[in-house]
Amino acid sequence: MAGQPLFSILNEDGSCEEAYRGLLTDDEVRQALDAMILNRILDRRLLMLQRQGRLAFWMTSRGEEATILGAAASLLPEDPIFLSYRELGCLLWRRIPLPLIFNQLIGNNRDLCLGRQMPVHYCYKEWAIPSVSSPVGTQLPHACGFGYAAKMRGTGQVALAFCGEGTASEGDFHTALNFAGVFATPTIFVIRNNGYAISTPESSQTAAESLAVRAEGYGMPGFQVDGNDLLAVVKVLGEAVDRARSGGGPTLVEAMTYRMGPHSTADDPSAYRSDDEAAEWNRLDPYERLKAHGIWRGIWSNEEEATIQASWDERVVATLAECERHPPPRIESLFEGVLETVSPQLEAQRDAYLAAHRRRQRDEFEVP
């Protein structure tokens, strides 16, 4: 509970109490290490791509992977995850094919969302990932409503929503948790408390000792957890998921973590964070901690890491190159899907624009 020392499971040498070992199978630990490796390769490469002008935007999640993957690992594949925007790891855990992720980032004609949103605004219904939007916190009441629907329809699903600690200041945070409490929906709210909303420190968001304490005001249990400790996250969220699935209602979990990179490609964290602070968090790097745990379990090694890294590196480069070859979506698609059918007003705008566009193309073509 908030106020207590932060709940952790992994010791510095990678060991853990025997009782906790079963929280994840060996295969799941390997899957998480694999996903973290891929996550970091993508962070590095996509940041570079953005710097080269080949990608409009990228948001890093380095440092927060344990929270993100731990949440995904606690759920069933059919449980919806309402992403904030920094949770690439959930896509990787659910094994959404890389091309589908890259197609979204590029906004090409193979993007399931038809190139309609900026990078990282994912939506993969087949993998129970509803659409990401930029206004923060709006997804939280959606998770409450989805939970209500799941409960009423008896689907057994649990809805999980992410937000940052900055978003906990939004009105939607309050209404979502209050509604979830009142209707006892199977909904889990995970705050990735990474210390900063862009440049604004947590101390500017709240005067309370923690965000988890708010749970009491909403009539639900609230927990703080070491967000860089995959096993601790899985333990706390696993219990929350079980509680939700068995009719016990919502839970608020505040995962204490750190964004090791910039907020986005438009940000420079050195302007507001000290090197000392970053160094302290480097010591708690979630990948390094899980890697030590894998070695302690005897299922991981430096050689294996290098092999997997190289293999992902190669696949990422090749897949990106392939996805970059696809053209933008058809111009006609701009006008589709606003309503179920095209309105007469939009139809007139579309016809006029497309006629002019085709004329222009023809004229350009005919210029000697």
Binding site: P80, D111, L112, C113, L114, R116, Q117, H121, C123, Y124, K125, P130, S131, S133, P135, T138, L140, P141, H142, A143, C144, G145, F146, G147, Y148, A149, A150, M152, R153, T155, Q157, A159, G171, D172, H174, T175, A176, N178, F179, V182, G337, V338, L339, E340, S343, P344, Q345, L346
Partner: protein
């Protein structure tokens, strides 16, 4: 011959909801005081008793939460029907409506399209001051991805509400509360729908086209009668659907009459009348015989003591009609 009954607009809307709840077991009614109490205007009266508290329920007092939750319910396969107690209180939910609900189908490439219908009483003439009188249709009509529908009587209220509930798009269903009880009619008690997107020709006429919606339609009918007394023949159109709107019917009418006046309660500047005037002049320019006219509320907050001056009256409308015809 199907059974009919004499219903006011509240009863007609309640009857429509009852029919729909019966047909679609995924339909859920939520809002403030809509449960056992049946809504402050009584539209949802009896629904909780009939369909249970899981499908008809009161929410905490938070409009953004209500709409946000409804979107999630829609994503989860339910068919939420939201009541926002007064349209003036819809603005805390504006972000959820404009950024989330309206864009969901588009932004997800059609993967998700939550079917959320939001009913809300709107409009003035009830001594409600700033916060129980406003007409927010233009805000929502300006947002791609929403339908905005306004009925003007019990027959339309029931048919349009059922039409809107059958439709897969998010709908803002604005209910003119001034005529909630006063607009009565003999209407079919069976299930029926009216097509969205179609304006209704209320009365044929030759001299000018008069366009209105909601409660203003009734004020316009008074004005049409007064005009008739002075020898003018007015064609009256109930727009019904604000977004998308039936330009075709307006243009066909104005092509004949050469004149048009649009009446609404909302302020003039950037009101929906501006859109209609702009679109009609572009399509019927060669047929126009006078400037197209807007007769509307003023660019002030909705007043309390002086609301009769603010709202277009039959006399004000008549004056506008005559001046335009005699232009």
């Amino acid at each position: 011959m199907a059974e009919t009954g004499s219903l006011n607009m509240i009863q007609a809307l309640g009857n429509a909801l009852d029919h729909y709840m019966e047909r679609d077991e995924m339909a859920v009614v939520l809002g403030e005081d809509v449960g056992a109490f049946g809504g402050v205007f009584r539209v949802t009266a009896g629904l909780q008793e009939k369909y249970g508290a899981e499908r008809v329920f009161d929410t905490p007092l938070a409009e953004a939460g209500i709409v946000g939750m409804a979107i999630g319910m829609g994503l989860g396969g339910l068919r939420p029907i939201v009541e926002i107690q007064f349209a003036d209180f819809i603005f805390p939910a504006f972000d959820q409506i404009v950024n989330e609900l309206a864009k969901y189908r588009y932004r997800s490439g059609g993967q998700y399209a939550p079917r959320v219908l939001i009913r809300t009483p709107y409009g003035g003439g009830i001594r409600g001051g700033h916060y129980h009188s406003q007409s927010p249709e233009a805000y929502f009509a300006h947002t791609p991805g929403l339908r905005v529908v306004v009925p003007s009587g019990p027959y339309e209220a029931k048919g349009l509400l059922l039409g809107a509930l059958e439709c897969a798009d998010p709908v803002i269903f604005l209910e003119p509360k001034r005529i909630y009880r006063s607009a009565k009619g003999e209407i079919p008690l069976d299930y029926y729908t009216l097509p969205l997107e179609r304006a209704r020709l209320v009365k044929k006429g030759e001299d000018i086209t008069l366009v209105a919606w909601g409660a203003m339609l009734h004020t316009c009918q008074e004005a049409v009668a007064l005009a008739e007394g002075e020898g003018y023949d007015v064609e009256l159109i109930d727009l019904q659907s604000i977004a998308p709107y039936d330009l075709h019917t307006l243009v066909r009418s104005v092509t004949k009459t050469g004149r048009m006046a649009v009446v609404h309660e909302a302020p003039m500047t950037c009101g929906f009348g501006a859109e209609l005037v702009a679109a009609v002049q572009a399509e019927a320019f060669d047929h126009l015989r006078a400037p197209l006219l807007r007769i509307t509320g003023f660019d002030t907050p909705f007043p309390y003591s002086l609301e009769d001056h603010y709202l277009p009256s039959a006399e004000r409308i008549l004056r506008g009609l005559v001046e335009t015809i005699e232009y």
